[in-house]
Symmetry: C2
Subunit: 454 residues, 2 copies
């Protein structure tokens, strides 16, 4: 075997000093969110009841770069810069001339990219006088990241965890409790929203939509409390750009600037975080990298959804956002990639996609686990089922490169490890995994129910 | 907050090129293992039925340095150099003038230091023509590391997993299966040893001693098969010295050569791996680092055991080793640090300890989880219960430094993460954790049953 470099780790001094806001670089601005009552553009005032002023300012910012505070930088240094790793084992197994790299965000304390924004949000809330954050979590990636961040900055944290996950994923719950969070199974009897659901169905297993409604109600009814969200909004995508900024430097160190960048999409924050800095280089004419978002066929918001105004939550309590959506009351099948089961796509990412600046594809669950297992076997790292969606397309790209005999550079986002998802692998290995195609009629019906805005 | 450096990560080129064998540097050689039938020194020929020639050569080597093969180095590069991290959050919480560092071995594919030797053993077995390895595992750390390594080098892997763990730790089992291993719950009906146990007690939950007997029998009765062990033997301690060699370089980079080095001990391999390179520096008069091994009060082999000849396994099938032992039929209480429940201590480490070149202390389970939780809350990383034994003593050392007003440098081994041990944290958080002191009479009785050799 010949000598090669496997890991590209930046010095701490080269962790980016600023997050990148793509808005000012886009050929046209995204459509504004609307107040659902007036259908007028929603401004900062619509957001201040639930988010602190610093976060609202970032949400609507037109600045190209926003400095990462030193206090956040210090916490980032626990796991950042995350390594860029060359997937030499996978390359060999595929016998491809392509060079495959992955950005390993699973090295963070909670095991995913979610910590990048959790730490920033906890910091700004602390700065603005918030003493307590309320949030929802489905599978638990986001809830555990925010619990860790609140612990770090001395904030209380209340997590409404979807009841089915609360019982199915006790390890995620223990993790949040270890980091000091108060975790409850949603629906609860602690909010009007929760009580209403329980009155109708005392056995309700909950949903992300219900948990969001409970967390928002909690935040606006408790003094000193704010709400915190782990994806979708502009400020979350902003905080995640630390991934892409690091990846650009590391790709240059590796002498392998990517021809293709691949990432999975649920709400869209990890993909935006990796892709937007590369898109900046494209827009400035310095590169021509293809950007590919990968979603599950069970929840294909970009590839099968409508680009229109919709609510961010199932209960229709948020402002209206222009985005790719399957309809806010669309209920995706229960796939193992719980983090990709959101009915819509981040408005900013939707806009970028609608401008034709990136691609999207949908892939099936069993095909995803095929390469998840291959990756674990050849690279030694067990990927989160969400991240494995990106591996699927990275592998397909590498096989295409082989067919074409081209030595392409492929970069994908390993958004998290799958150590707390091993029951999903168990299902795969024992042949119990099912595929779900997008239920066309259900999607059409829920899109038909959307509010008519334009 | 002031600027500080948190992580010390070596360039790949600075991963040590050789493992360090402390034997030639010791003031006197360790006592040889004995053939239990003849009571004559056991030589290489006694080991060749179960280990391949390259491993046997390392087991008895008198060479000071043994080159790490490039093929092993390439796999190491997936996670090595492991970071040396300054525990600034923990220091702040303790308000100590001490500087606390930890070597984070939990970043490996299987989540612990075990991968360091698993990869080496799989490589040498492959080189010597072995096609299949058999081993035992208790909690699953070792079994998962060896499964990963066998997958990497294309060897079959059979793991005898103690039955109680097989059912209690399904995630560890899935991990091994994902890496291609054939995992069975021991006692099985596939070996004479297993059948004998089942004949006596069909409901037996198994023990590490039984699983060892099954794995050894499997290896000697299957063509192309060898046996593989995850701790205790000289070659395992040798492979783990990559930890200490890296830590010396990183401590120098951090300008914080340790005054105290702390590690947990079960079989003793991770501690030997970290401590022996530092001991070399002590013996050469270049440093005066205090080396402290930490064991559980439930299984206090060094602090309460006898230094004498005993068998390595419960079934008394191995050669006799001179070591600290509680007696091979001593059954430690069921603590959550499953990796520290071995009745004896590595012969080489025992010898070093008997020469007065290191210290040992025993700590209680609840006190261990107190600091495990504190570490998770201040550093963001959830430690394995085994590793938390070292944290306990590192914290005690830091508090002593505070009392004395001394700015001491403390280094401990974070041998693994606790992501698959969250049920133990759950028990701790809900107040269900119990303490077990060493049962003096049981220990005295099992020591009294030892073979009389000298």
């Amino acid at each position: 075997m010949s000598e090669y470099k496997k890991k590209f780790v930046l010095d701490e001094e080269r962790i980016p000093k600023a997050w990148y806001n793509i808005v000012p670089d886009l050929p046209e601005p995204p459509a504004p969110p609307l107040n659902p009552a007036t259908l007028q553009p929603a401004g900062p005032d619509d957001l201040l009841p639930i988010f602190p002023p610093s976060i609202v300012a970032q949400e609507v910012s037109a600045e190209r770069y926003i400095e990462i505070p030193e206090e956040v930088h210090q916490i980032y240094r626990l796991w950042r810069p995350s390594p860029l790793i060359r997937a030499t084992g996978l390359e060999k197994a595929l016998d491809t001339p392509a060079r495959i790299f992955y950005k390993h965000e699973g090295v963070s304390p909670a095991g995913s990219h979610k910590c990048n924004t959790a730490v920033a949000q906890a910091y700004y809330n602390k700065l603005d006088g918030t003493t307590r954050l309320a949030t929802e979590t489905g599978a638990g990636q986001w809830g555990s990241a925010l619990s860790m961040a609140c612990q770090t900055f001395g904030l209380e944290c209340k997590v409404y965890m979807v009841k089915v996950s609360y019982h199915q994923k006790p390890y995620r719950r223990s993790m949040m409790q270890l980091w000091g969070a108060d975790v409850v199974a949603s629906p609860t009897d602690q909010t009007n929203a929760g009580r209403a659901v329980l009155a109708e169905d005392p056995e309700s297993l909950g949903s992300l939509g219900i948990a969001i409604s409970e967390a928002v109600e909690d935040a606006v009814t408790h003094p000193g409390s704010k709400y915190s969200l782990g994806s979708v909004t502009n400020h979350v995508l902003l905080h995640q750009t630390v991934i892409g900024e690091e990846a650009i430097l590391q790709s240059q160190d590796a002498d392998a600037y990517p021809n293709v960048v691949v990432g999975c999409v649920g709400g869209g924050s990890s993909f935006g975080g990796l892709a937007f800095p590369f898109l900046r280089e494209n827009l400035a004419g310095r590169a021509k990298t293809r950007l590919v978002a990968v979603e599950p066929t069970a929840c294909p918001s970009i590839t099968k959804g409508a680009f229109t105004y919709d609510f961010g939550d199932e209960a229709a309590t948020t402002p209206l956002f222009k985005m790719y959506t399957l309809g806010h009351d669309y209920m995706p099948p229960g796939i193992h990639a719980g983090g990709l089961r959101y009915h819509a796509m981040a408005p900013l990412l939707s806009h970028v996609c609608n401008l034709g600046l990136m691609d999207a594809v949908a892939v099936r669950q069993t095909k995803v686990f095929d390469v998840a297992a291959l990756f674990a076997q050849t690279e030694g790292i067990i990927p989160a089922p969400e991240s494995a969606h990106a591996i699927r397309v990275a592998v397909d790209e590498a096989l295409k490169a082989k067919e074409e005999g081209v030595a392409r550079n492929i970069l994908f986002n390993l958004t998290g490890h799958g150590l707390l998802d091993l029951s999903a692998y168990d299902a795969y290995l024992s042949g119990k995994l099912e595929d779900y195609d997008h239920p066309e009629e259900e999607i059409a019906a829920s899109i038909a129910r959307l509010p008519k805005v334009e």
